[in-house]
């Protein structure tokens, strides 16, 4: 790989000016659409994920809006119970498996991990392309299951025996989830190998940027936990087709076993979803504070601690399932342990800003919203982790709100922050700041109005997955519905603003923000082999001394121009 790196370096030197990866397909024999569909360039694969993930995101967002519209009034508002059950199942399956899990690792991880490591691609470029095709196949099957024999109506958790006995097309959806799991696993394998084998010569472990560290921690969870889900989903298919009886009590099986197996993956999976988001925030806050991240080693350590401890807390989803009280004790205890590394990260982010030189920009604004919303998500998780209070709010709207605060307020907002942070790097253009702020404020306001009432509804006792509800829950659901519309409007403004930048966005320099990690040292958009000159390890990745010095010499730098956009 080092040799290839050197050759590419000589090649790019020979051709001046430097062409971006958009102009130089890899392999070079393909042109047009083929240059995308048959590419092995990690940047192009990242962008193919971006296109497909965004489509799924918008579809699932609209499904979510339909759910909340139905719930704005009691009784049947815009659909029947059967449709409602199918819609919340698809909303969950699409959001989880096709948006939240792949969003940050598959788009930004693919694009940036090799660059942050100072190399030209991932270790298995062809496997990387295969992962994308598996992702597309899984998505296609999920859509197909909509039209064949009725859409699935089990919720994204596919609990047995219901998922085995229902007449709808659970088999196809489960197969889709199986294939998507495969895709996620292969991406994890690729990232782990790349981090181990392809760091530029001289780069030590404690010199790896925090975003890549978070992807590394995530990749281990993907690789170790996903097979459990794959096996479980396969067992559901076997139950449905052959009636194997593993989960069927009348044949000596145990339905609770399914829940253990399912959550043994699906709880670690929420850390697959949040860890990369935390990595994004750890990159953005230092750049706009012009100050080193506070406690680099503690953040690295907490990422790994979350990956390990997060794999041991799955049964906190099952306090009411009838499992033993000893298990409740142990899993509640472990759940509180896993809260601590997350708290350390929040403290580190806030402390990074202390005595910094802070410039407000859309990516920083999204990051601050992330810290606020994620903190609410994390703290309400304590209510769920404690055994006694869990019993009251388990399977109610409280869980729905908590989960969305972590997954949407957390991962979703980190994804938005990442979009705004790396947009100029990926496309070489800058978007309009004013519209980005309007979008961020709308999204956050809508978000709060949408989910805060659900906490109250949950404590009052409104269960989740309810098509209809008792009259006392009317007011909360009505306000949540209003919030949903504001939230979706905000997201649409944000996406439109980014799309408009293709038409009239200003050209962005290679380092519009003043970043220190390697991606900011190369042209925007990057050339095919990422680096024009072989990168040299800089030691500590968050040393802002040079940036501060060059900025004080030239106050009219790109950043100040950026802020006036």
């Amino acid at each position: 790989m080092e040799i290839i790196g050197k050759i590419s370096y000589m090649e790019t030197q020979a051709t001046q000016p430097i062409k971006s990866f958009y102009e130089t397909p890899s392999p070079s024999r393909f042109t047009g659409i083929g240059a995308w569909l048959l590419t092995i360039d990690h940047k192009r694969i990242g962008l193919m994920y971006m296109a497909s993930v965004m489509v799924w995101f918008v579809i699932a967002l609209i499904l979510g809006l339909l759910i909340r519209t139905e719930l704005m009034a009691t009784g049947s508002t815009i659909m029947e119970a059967e449709t409602y059950n199918a819609i919340f199942t698809l909303h969950g399956v699409i959001m989880i498996f096709l948006f939240v899990i792949p969003a940050i690792p598959a788009i930004f991880g693919n694009f940036l991990l090799p660059i942050q490591l100072g190399t030209d691609d991932v270790f298995f470029p062809k496997l990387n392309l295969l992962s994308w095709y598996l992702y597309m196949l899984g998505g296609f099957l999920a859509i197909l299951s909509l039209f064949a024999d009725g859409p699935p109506d089990t919720g994204w958790t596919f609990y047995v025996p219901f998922s085995v006995s229902t007449e709808t097309n659970v088999g196809l959806t489960v197969t889709a989830a199986f294939i998507l799991g495969m895709s996620s696993m292969l991406t994890g394998l690729n990232f782990i190998t790349t981090v181990h084998r392809m760091r530029m010569p001289g780069m030590k472990w404690m010199e790896i940027p925090l975003f890549t560290w978070s992807l590394y921690a995530t990749a281990w969870v993907q690789l170790l936990a996903t097979p459990v889900l794959s096996i479980t989903l396969l067992l559901v298919i076997l139950e449905r087709i052959f009636g194997s009886g593993l989960f069927d009590p009348s044949k000596g099986g145990d339905p609770i076993l399914y829940q253990h197996l399912f959550w043994m993956y699906s709880h670690p999976a929420v850390y697959i979803m949040i860890l990369p988001g935390m990595g994004v925030i750890s990159e953005i806050i230092p750049v706009f504070s012009r100050k080193s991240i506070f406690g680099y080693k503690a953040i690295v350590g907490s990422s790994m601690a979350i990956a390990v401890a997060g794999s041991l807390v799955w049964a906190h989803h099952m306090f009411t399932s009838g499992m033993s009280d000893v298990a409740v004790f142990v899993f509640s205890f472990l759940t509180f342990i896993v809260a601590i590394p997350s708290a350390i990260k929040v403290f580190s982010w806030v402390s990074t800003m202390y005595k910094g030189s802070i410039l407000m920009t859309p990516p920083l604004f999204f990051s601050l919203c992330f810290i606020y919303l994620f903190s609410i998500g994390g703290l309400t998780g304590l209510v769920l982790g404690a055994a006694g209070t869990n019993i009251q709010v388990h399977d109610t709207h409280f869980v729905v709100a908590h989960f969305h605060f972590v997954m949407f307020g957390g991962t979703g907002f980190a994804f938005f922050a990442a979009l705004h942070f790396w947009w100029p790097k990926i496309f070489g253009i800058m978007y309009n700041f004013k519209r980005a702020y309007v979008a961020a404020i709308l999204t956050t306001t809508g978000f709060m109005l949408h989910y805060i009432p659900m906490f109250i509804l949950g404590i009052m006792g409104m269960p989740r997955r309810y098509y209809d509800y008792l009259p006392e829950f009317q007011t909360g659901n009505f306000f949540a519905g209003i919030g949903a519309y504001i939230l979706v409007a905000g997201v649409l403004v944000m996406l439109l603003n980014l799309l408009i930048s293709f038409k009239n966005g200003e050209t962005s320099p290679s380092d519009p923000w003043g970043g220190t990690t390697l991606e900011w040292s190369i042209p925007s958009p990057p050339p095919l082999h990422n680096f024009v000159e072989s990168p040299k390890p800089k030691g500590y990745p968050y040393d802002f001394t040079d940036i501060v010095r060059s900025n004080s010499l030239n106050s009219n730098d790109s950043l100040n121009r950026g802020s006036k956009l």
Partner: protein
């Protein structure tokens, strides 16, 4: 005989404890964050300090949250223990979940559908199972929720101290009628209960 402790009080205290501390922490984090962003804005503070870590501070903010988390764990656990330890003289009612209704079977053989009547002032133990898929029995007023699992026997107990009507809901998604799988819990006086038990009311 020991006085019966109603688990509801301990659970509500646990809610207050955890949510109270969380609100304080959230406020502190948010205020500090906004204060830093405003105070150290680039137009006022062009040259940043170079602080990379401070192990003393980091140890402190690892230990204090650990202590808080462990105290919350304990408060949560002890309130849960109250839900699991059924007093001795409890009235036992067999509870069977099915798509999409709740069946209650009283000692003596009386059976009701989607309606449960219990005497005031006596602990009630529900022995729960399911006839088909997994359901979840949820009585928010008494803070109890237990899944009804086919061929498995779970239980919950509650202590109705006041008369009134309360709702029972299903909380484990069970199909098209999930949201309609509700029942009414009626707490009546001991005398009314005895009269009702002998009546034909179902």
């Amino acid at each position: 005989m020991n006085p019966i402790i109603n688990p509801v009080e301990k659970i509500d205290a646990a809610f207050l404890y955890i949510i109270g501390i969380s609100l304080v922490l959230l406020t502190l984090i948010t205020i500090t964050m906004i204060w830093f962003v405003v105070k150290y804005r680039r137009s006022k503070n062009l040259v940043p300090a170079d602080i990379r870590d401070n192990w003393k501070l980091e140890v402190i903010w690892t230990i204090i949250p650990t202590c808080i988390a462990l105290s919350m764990f304990w408060v949560g656990w002890s309130s849960y223990a109250g839900l699991r330890n059924v007093p001795e003289n409890a009235l036992e009612i067999e509870t069977i979940a099915q798509m999409y209704s709740w069946i209650f079977r009283y000692p003596g053989g009386k059976e009701t559908d989607s309606k449960i009547v219990v005497p005031q002032g006596r602990p009630i133990r529900l022995n729960i199972t399911s006839d088909d898929v997994i359901h979840g029995l949820f009585i928010p007023a008494f803070r109890i929720k237990v899944d009804a699992v086919p061929k498995v026997h779970t239980y919950a107990w509650f202590y109705p101290q006041k008369t009134g009507r309360f709702s029972v809901q299903c909380t484990e998604f069970c199909g098209i009628g999930h949201a309609d799988m509700t029942a009414e819990l009626k707490v009546v006086t001991e005398e009314e209960y005895n009269v009702w038990l002998k009546s034909d009311d179902k």
